[in-house]
């Protein structure tokens, strides 16, 4: 489990994260959402130990990530948005890096590459950006790491690859794997991420499971506007509205609408989910 307590980070005088307290439980796929510049990538790099917190603490299974101990590094893999086109064949890259991880499964790597329709014999510096991203994703999923941190993993992927990505994540991760995905492409990951974390400037606006969200908010695809709606968007033939779920109705979360609702009613949502 990852525990964050009163975390603060700044670039010089520019405070990015302030007094953040939250936890990441095992076996969940967290979606880390937020506007540009709120510190999603910064939070991910802090979580995996690439940066040292300026204030507060982060503990992953009781260890500070910035200590970068081999025992913790073995358990985690960070997939940055911008990946390096190395001069290795994809399969050689995976083998070379896989030796450091006890649970790395090369057959699984080849299987995921096959699902992504990417040639493992190809040199990485001769791949397109999408193929390169898929190679790194394949390695991340085959690494058997307990914690996977992914920064915009679907950037650069074509439409079929986005579907394959969701399938691969569901198929090739174990029950105790915690995945934290930072993304702007919420629609790409709508059926994958649970819980959802929405970051605001220097704060966590929401950290809730889909079940909690649907228990407290109702996503209404109706023809009439409800006076209680917190957010509404006109769709062909009706409206998409988000309103408090007083009647205990069941609905399907629309992450984009949720994001807009949270941003429009920050204090209300905080209060609603604090209960």
């Amino acid at each position: 489990m990852i525990t964050i307590d009163k975390l603060g980070f700044s670039y010089g005088t520019n405070q990015v994260l302030k007094n953040i307290t939250t936890t990441f439980e095992e076996g969940r796929i967290y979606g880390l959402l937020g506007e540009n510049g709120v510190g999603k990538t910064t939070l991910l790099t802090l979580l995996c130990g690439l940066k040292a917190p300026k204030e507060g603490t982060i503990l992953t299974d009781g260890e500070k990530p910035f200590d970068r101990t081999p025992s913790l590094l073995e358990k985690q893999y960070y997939l940055p948005d911008d990946v390096s086109p190395l001069g290795w064949k994809a399969k050689d890259f995976a083998k070379m890096n896989g030796v450091f991880r006890e649970n790395y499964d090369h057959e699984r790597f080849l299987a995921i590459m096959d699902e992504f329709e990417t040639n493992p014999e190809q040199k990485m510096n001769q791949m397109s950006s999408g193929q390169l991203k898929k190679t790194y994703i394949s390695f991340a999923l085959a690494s058997g790491c307990k914690y996977l941190f992914m920064d915009e993993p679907t950037n650069g992927l074509d439409i079929p690859s986005k579907t394959q990505f969701r399938g691969a994540v569901m198929k090739h991760t174990s029950e105790d794997t915690t995945i934290i995905i930072s993304t702007h492409q919420v629609r790409d990951l709508e059926n994958l991420i649970d819980p959802i974390i929405i970051l605001d400037k220097q704060d966590v606006l929401l950290n809730a499971t889909i079940e909690e969200i649907t228990r407290k908010l109702y996503f209404d695809y109706g023809n009439e506007l409800n006076p209680e709606s917190l957010f509404s968007e006109q769709l062909p033939g009706g409206f998409l509205q988000v309103r408090p779920n007083r009647e205990g109705l069941e609905s399907k979360v629309n992450v984009e609408a949720l994001f807009n609702t949270v941003h429009k009613h920050k204090e209300y949502i905080r209060g609603l989910f604090a209960k």
Binding site: T45, P70, S71, V99
Partner: protein
């Protein structure tokens, strides 16, 4: 419970990974530097045989017919080539091998490799200060020996050169390891300096390191000049002379000690600085 500071098996895995990576990064540069005696000899003989001693251009048929009697490059020339090649290699290879650590993407991947900071640092030092210089020296001297074997007009091979016999005076200080240590110490100092530059500067690593050394020497020279300007040089000269007379039987020991203390000091400064650059690296 795993040892998070140093484990032989993990270090072994990491060292092999590092070696493979460096073969990709600097393999070609290393190969060209090792083969430089052959490349230089071929170029020297080609251009030497294009022109006649009177400056006229030979015809192709004359060149094909065989050498026109010029001798191969002598030891001094080949030694100069060796020094220049060594300088270029030691200035360039550290930044090509480890310069990417300062880049966000490559540096992040390197930091996230499951090995301890100590293991990564040790591997870097072993490769920069032992593997690359020693294999380069061995390979270069071997190529030079092969050139001398193929063309005896080149004279003695560099490997057979003996600095102590070259000095030729029986009472002159004897250099350790027949001068090899001097050469190796120089390579280590250069490699470590340029490795530190590669870890400090984000781009133009070699140029900025040279500029930094130039600036440093320009700062230190006036300070040193100010310190010694008020000294009585006649008195100091006399003291030095007396010291030499008093220690004449152990001059070689003091001479080699000076070299080794200087080397140890430089390794300590650059090595410690490099360690902290790696330890506190953030992306």
């Amino acid at each position: 419970m795993k040892n998070n500071t140093f484990s032989i098996s993990r270090f072994g895995k990491y060292f092999v990974h590092d070696l493979k990576t460096q073969v990709k990064n600097i393999g070609m540069l290393w190969l060209v530097c090792v083969l430089m005696p052959v490349i230089f000899y071929a170029t020297y003989m080609l251009f030497g045989n294009i022109f006649s001693p009177s400056g006229h251009l030979y015809f192709i048929k004359d060149i094909v017919a065989g050498p026109k009697g010029i001798d191969g490059p002598i030891l001094g020339v080949r030694f100069a080539v060796f020094v220049v090649t060594t300088m270029v290699l030691t200035m360039v290879f550290p930044s090509r091998a480890y310069g990417d650590i300062t880049k966000k993407s490559e540096g992040s991947a390197w930091l996230m490799l499951p090995a301890s900071r100590l293991e990564k640092y040790l591997s870097m030092m072993v490769i920069c200060l032992a593997v690359v210089p020693l294999t380069f020296i061995a390979g270069h001297l071997l190529c030079d020996w092969l050139v001398c074997l193929a063309d005896p007009t080149c004279g003695k091979a560099m490997a057979a050169f003996n600095i102590n016999s070259a000095i030729g005076q029986p009472d002159a200080p004897q250099f350790v390891a027949n001068g090899f240590w001097l050469l190796y110490a120089m390579i280590i100092e250069y490699a470590l300096t340029f490795l530190l530059g590669a870890l400090i500067f984000k781009k133009w690593k070699v140029i900025f390191t040279i500029i930094a050394l130039f600036v440093l020497s320009n700062i230190l020279t006036p300070i040193l000049a100010a310190c010694i300007s008020g000294m009585d040089w006649n008195e100091i000269g006399r003291k030095i002379e007396n010291w030499f007379v008093d220690h004449a039987d152990r001059l070689d020991f003091y001479f080699n000690a000076c070299i080794n203390v200087g080397l140890a000091f430089w390794i300590a400064v650059c090595g410690t600085w490099s360690w902290f650059r790696l330890k506190n690296r953030q992306h």
